[in-house]
Structures are given as C-alpha cells and as structure tokens.
C-alpha cells in the first residue's frame, strides 16, 4: 500500500504535539495565526485581479482554481485516506452534467441546478465509495479507473440524457444581483472563495475524528478495524467528502467553459487530474492548486519553447516523480527542513524564534 511520507516534515506531528500539550496559549496563538492567514489569503485574493492581466486571470488563475478544487478531492483521498481514485472526474462530470441538463433541458432555475449539482457530488462519491469499499491500493485505482471510464462512455453514448459526443454548449453562468459570473472578476472571486472554502472544509474533516479514521485507513487498515472502525464505512465516507469538492470543481468548470462534453471527462482528463495532484504533492491539500497552476502554465506556455508540448509535460512530470516523493510541495518542504537543520547547526538561537510555525499550520 502506498504511504505518503508524513514524517517529521509535514507539521502534522507538531500539530499533534501542540494538541497533546493542550496549552491554552498555544491554541489561541494558533487561532490568531489562522485568522492572520485567512486575512492574507483574503488580501491576496482581492489583489490578484489587479495584478494579473485579464487573460492570465481567466485562463491561468481561474482554471487553476477549479482544476485545483477538483484536484484537492483527489489529494484528500490520496493524502488523507490513502485511496487512489481515478473516478474523481466521474464525480466532477456528474455534477457538471447534472447542472447543465437541469438548466438547458428542463429549464430549472440556475440556483436550484447548482444546489442539485453540489449535492450530486457527495452522492456520486458515496456511490463510488459503496462500489469500491472492499478494494484498496492498486486494485482500487483500477476499479475507480473503470468507473471513471464508464461514466465517460455513458456521457458519450447515452444520448437521451447526455446529448452524446457533442454534449452541452452555451451554458451561461448565473447572475447574482447584477453581478455576472460570466465575467472574469466575479467568477474569479467565486472560484477563489470556493477554493478557500473547500480547503478549510477538507481540513476540518481531516482534523476531526473522521480524519483520524481516514489516516488509519491510509496507514494501517488492520489496526483501524481492530479499533472498531469499519474500513468500508470509512472508505465510503471519505469518497463522499471528496465528492463534495469534486462536485464544486465540476460546477465551476462548467461556468468557466460554458459547456460540458465527454471530452471534459475523458481518459486524458482523468490522467491530467492525477498529474495535477502528483506534481503538486498529496502531502497537503494545497498541493493540488500548485499542481494545477504548474500544469496550466505548461499547457499554455510550453509551446513557446518546443514543438513537442506533451513530451515536455510528460518529462517534467517524470522528473518530479523521480526526485520527490511528495511532488513540488515535497521538494519545497524538504528544502525547508534542510535549511532548518543548517540553521540549527550554525546557531540554535534563530531556530527557536521560529518554533510555533504559525503560518504552516492553519
């Protein structure tokens, strides 16, 4: 079974230490740090549209955000629960398709459709979880691949519902009180808030007792069942939680593309999502966003250096896999740990000042 290296490097141990200590001041310090972090993120979000061009905002930033949201569902499954799922595009597609079908075929109000799509995510996750509850590791990967491909073929072949290969075009993102989400800035704010929300939510889940069970699933299935947890129920619930963010990603993707077709969930996208998460690193949920950004940048700008974009993407991906266990995030964290060690060697004083790690531990 795959076990991401959650050694000393990732801060989770530090977190546990803090919790064990139960020192009130540490907790309130954390709270403050969290608020500060949120504020920074808020400021960054507010500033982004000013800092980047319209094109970059839409095609790099917003794309990375929804791709990252979809990716975070996979990062959550792999990093927290050790479940490698290739069916996240299926969830993503279910939500996106459901919204498009309700609006374009049945004239359902957009917000009802959006709500339905957001519910469809966890439901689809639940179903996938139920189907795959007895599998784990590489078997699970294969089974979920089959599910992902099945949903793709369903979209392509079952025309009465899905309009076949052409799919749905001309979907207009909603307008809230005169703010048109088809425009870039509003869409960006919505995506960014959704991204922050998804990350916070998934983190809350990860820190809850359920999160503990997920880590048990990841690290030691036998012990988990010995502790009285049902591995099946844990698996199913993990899929449902992940389905939520994949569903949100699907909704945003349809707003972004204005369309959804089997091409949005075909095997190339399944692979792309896996690449996004692997490049970013599953050690933290934010890795998915980093990975999404890298992939989006490569797809948009790599052809300025080479005629063979795909080879470059593949090669970059291989190199990252070869040199780092946890993607780019892993490289970064390793480097930081090494830097810390170096500092420790030359003068313990400076390290002490850094002990609480407020920023890395929201």
């Amino acid at each position: 079974m795959y076990r991401p290296e959650h050694a000393v490097t990732n801060g989770s141990e530090l977190r546990e230490r803090g919790e064990l200590g139960g020192v009130f001041s540490a907790k309130s310090g954390r709270l403050l740090a969290n608020c500060a972090l949120l504020l920074v993120i808020g400021a960054a979000i507010a500033a982004t549209p000013v800092l980047v061009s319209d094109f970059v905002l839409l095609q790099i930033v917003i794309k990375s955000l929804w791709l990252g949201i979809a990716g975070s569902s996979l990062a959550f499954l792999i990093g927290q629960a050790g479940l490698i799922s290739l069916a996240q595009t299926a969830v993503f597609g279910t939500s996106g398709y459901l919204m498009a079908i309700l609006v374009l075929e049945h004239d359902v109000g957009i917000w009802v459709a959006v709500a339905a799509a957001c519910i469809a995510g966890p439901v689809a996750g639940l179903i996938i979880g139920i189907i795959s509850q007895r599998s784990s590791g590489l078997y699970l990967m294969m089974l979920t691949l089959a599910i992902g491909v099945f949903v793709f073929f369903f979209a392509q072949q079952y025309q009465p519902i899905t309009r076949g290969h052409t799919g749905f075009n001309g979907f207009d993102a909603p307008i809230i009180k005169g703010v048109n989400l088809q425009e870039r800035e509003p869409l960006f704010y919505v995506s960014a808030i959704a991204a922050v929300g998804v990350v916070i939510l998934l983190r809350l889940v990860a820190q809850s007792p359920a999160g503990l069970a997920y880590r048990g699933l990841r690290d030691n299935r036998k012990r988990l069942s010995a502790l009285g947890y049902s591995t099946a129920a844990t698996t199913v619930s993990a899929f449902a939680v992940a389905g939520f963010s994949a569903g949100i990603g699907g909704v945003l993707a349809v707003w972004y593309n204005g369309a959804i077709s089997p091409g949005s969930i075909d095997i190339a996208r399944i692979i792309e999502l896996l690449i996004v998460v692997t490049i970013g690193g599953t050690i933290r949920l934010e890795g998915a966003f980093l990975g999404a950004l890298v992939v989006t940048l490569l797809r948009n700008y790599a052809n300025e250096f080479t005629n063979r974009t795909s080879t470059l993407v593949g090669a970059v991906f291989m190199v990252i896999v070869l040199i780092s266990r946890n993607g780019l995030l892993g490289i970064f964290i390793n480097a930081r740990t090494k830097a810390h060690k170096a500092i420790k060697l030359f003068g313990g004083q400076r390290l002490k000042a850094k002990q609480p790690y407020p920023q890395t531990n929201p």
């Binding site: 079974m1 795959y2 792999i78 490698i84 189907i131 795959s132 007895r134 599998s135 784990s136 590791g137 590489l138 078997y139 990967m141 294969m142 089974l143 691949l145 089959a146 599910i147 491909v149 099945f150 073929f153 369903f154 072949q157 079952y158 095997i267 692979i271 896996l274 690449i275 692997t278 005629n307 063979r308 974009t309 795909s310 080879t311 993407v313 593949g314 090669a315 991906f317 291989m318 896999v321 070869l322 266990r325």
Partner: protein
C-alpha cells in the same frame, strides 16, 4: 448457499439470453465467437506481460499501451525497409523489450514505491505517445500481413468469410500462452519468477540477483506487448490513441482476471473478448457500457478478480 443459488440463476438467465440471441442471428454467431476469440488473443498477449510485471515487481505499468504502439511502429519501420513481416515482428518485439528495460531501469530509481512507480509509467506513456506522433506521424497506418496469411477463408458449412490473419492471432496467443507456461513451469528462470512473485525478499536473501529476474520479466512483457503491437498493427491499425485503447482493454482483462495471475488473464481475456463481441453485435450503441459495466460488476462481487492472483494483492 443462497448467494450461490442466485449466482447460478443469473448465469442460467445470461446463458439463455446469449443462446437465444445467437439463434436469432444464425450462423453469424460463429462469427461473433471468432471475433471474440481474436480480441481475446490480442488482449491476452498484452495482459500476460502486464500481469507478470505486476505480480513480480508490483508495478502497474501504465506505459504498457505505449510499448504496444512502439512495438507496432518499430515493426512497421522494419517492414517498410525489409518487406519481411516476421523479421519486422521480431525486431519490433526486441525494440519494445528494450524500451521496457529502460523503463525498468528508471523504475529502479524509485526503490519500490508503488504509487510513484505507477506515476512514472504514466509520465512515460505521455512521452512515448508524443514521440510516436513525432516520429511516425498522426495518420493511421498498418503493416501488411505475410503473404500466406493474406485474405480470408470460408468458415466451414457457411458462406461467411473469416480473415486468415485473425485466426493466426488466436494461434499466436495460444502459442504465446504455451511458451509462457513452459517458461514459467519448466525453466529455472520461471521458478525464480514464481518465487519472486511469492516473496521477492526471500529470493534475494538466498543470494539471487532479483533485479536480473525483474529485468528479464520486464523485457519479456515488453516483447509480448511488442508482438501484440505488430499483430494489432497488422489486422487493425497503428494510430494515435491506440495506446490508450489497448491499455484500457488489457487493464480490464488483467483486473477481471486478478492481478498477478496468468491463468486469470487467459480466462478473463476470453470472457472480455466474448462479452465485447456479443455486446457489439447485439447492443452496438451501448456496447462499451456493457463491457465496463460488467467489469465493475465483477470487481464489486469479487474484488480480487475472477481468479485470485498468486500474490497477496491487498497492498
């Protein structure tokens, strides 16, 4: 007991359905059967190597489809220069084996981390696909079969034709199966492979160079995929995207059969081939859904595949 009864009942219903459908199309059902077997032959060539590599090295080699394509294209280049199909297949297989070996050497750097190994093969697929596009272009093409396998024969007792080469593919798969059996059960390398699938650490403790065994299995799998590529490139065609199609098909077979099990791969190849041919004949539009749907059904009922692999595949 109840579950078994239910299973039997479902099987009887399915058999009745299949038979009645076959009666409906008369002597064409033989055609469907043969089509299924041909597909099964190709799938087996792919799946056997895949499953061996998985069993021994615990690598889900997603580049297996890419290697199929490379083998086929390699053979194509040889055939274009020499005109000899057999030489083309041999060199194509050799080429594929070589690529597979390179892949193994890369994988060694990861020291047995399942997920990263899988990811590395995924990256390799992307690179291979793009490089075949760069080298051989994007227009579909094919190999010419050897002259004595060109054309078709009449099926006994019916006016229907069946291409000779497709029958040869079935024969090739059977031959490959036999050779694999001999290799695995009658040679020292085969014993080492089986032992390695059971417990690679113990083999190395005995003083055996497991990496050599692994390398030979990778090359064997590559060669099988290369042969499949040349065969598929002859009776189907070589094109961009074929790598993913064939990879998906062989994945279905391998999973349905039980990862790591050669016998399972054989049985599942036949089942998948037949189900596919049957579904395509009777429910063309939904055929892909039926193939994948039955795979999901199999995996839900038997998470370890039809035949439990020789290994503890839980990991």
């Amino acid at each position: 007991m109840a579950r078994r009864l239910l299973g039997v009942a479902v099987a009887v219903l399915l058999a009745y359905y299949a038979v009645s459908k076959s009666v409906e199309i008369g002597d064409r059902s033989l055609l469907v059967l043969l089509n299924g077997l041909t597909a099964a032959g190709l799938y087996f060539l792919m799946a056997s190597g895949f499953t061996l590599v998985f069993g021994l090295a615990r690598v889900t080699n997603l580049a297996h489809g890419g290697i199929y394509l490379l083998g086929g294209y390699g053979a194509l280049s040889v055939q274009r220069t020499t005109g000899n199909w057999f030489l083309a297949v041999m060199l194509g297989a050799l080429f594929a084996a070589g690529v597979s070996l390179v892949l193994y050497l890369l994988l060694r750097l990861l020291k047995g981390d399942d997920l990263r190994e899988t990811m590395l093969t995924l990256g390799a697929t992307i690179v291979i696909a793009d490089q075949t596009l760069a080298t051989w272009g994007g227009i579909p093409t094919d190999l010419a079969p050897p002259s004595f396998l060109t054309g078709s024969i009449h099926l006994p007792g019916s006016p229907l034709l069946y291409p000779k080469f497709r029958l040869a593919v079935v024969a090739l798969a059977v031959l490959a199966g036999l050779l694999l059996w001999v290799l695995l059960y009658k040679t020292r390398l085969g014993m080492l492979i089986r032992a390695g699938v059971d417990d690679a650490d113990m083999v190395s403790v005995l003083g055996i160079r497991v990496p050599l065994v692994l390398a030979s299995v990778f090359m064997l799998a590559g060669a099988l995929a290369g042969i499949a590529g040349a065969a598929g490139g002859t009776y189907l065609s070589l094109a961009q995207g074929e790598d993913n199609r064939i990879l998906l098909a062989s994945l279905i077979v391998v999973i349905a059969g039980g990862l790591g099990s050669l016998r399972g791969a054989g049985a599942a190849a036949i089942i998948v081939g037949l189900v596919e041919a049957f579904a395509q004949t009777h429910h063309p539009v939904l055929s892909v859904l039926i193939t994948f749907g039955s795979l999901i059904a199999i995996l839900v009922l038997r998470p370890q595949g039809l035949i439990k692999g020789a290994t503890h595949v839980q990991a």
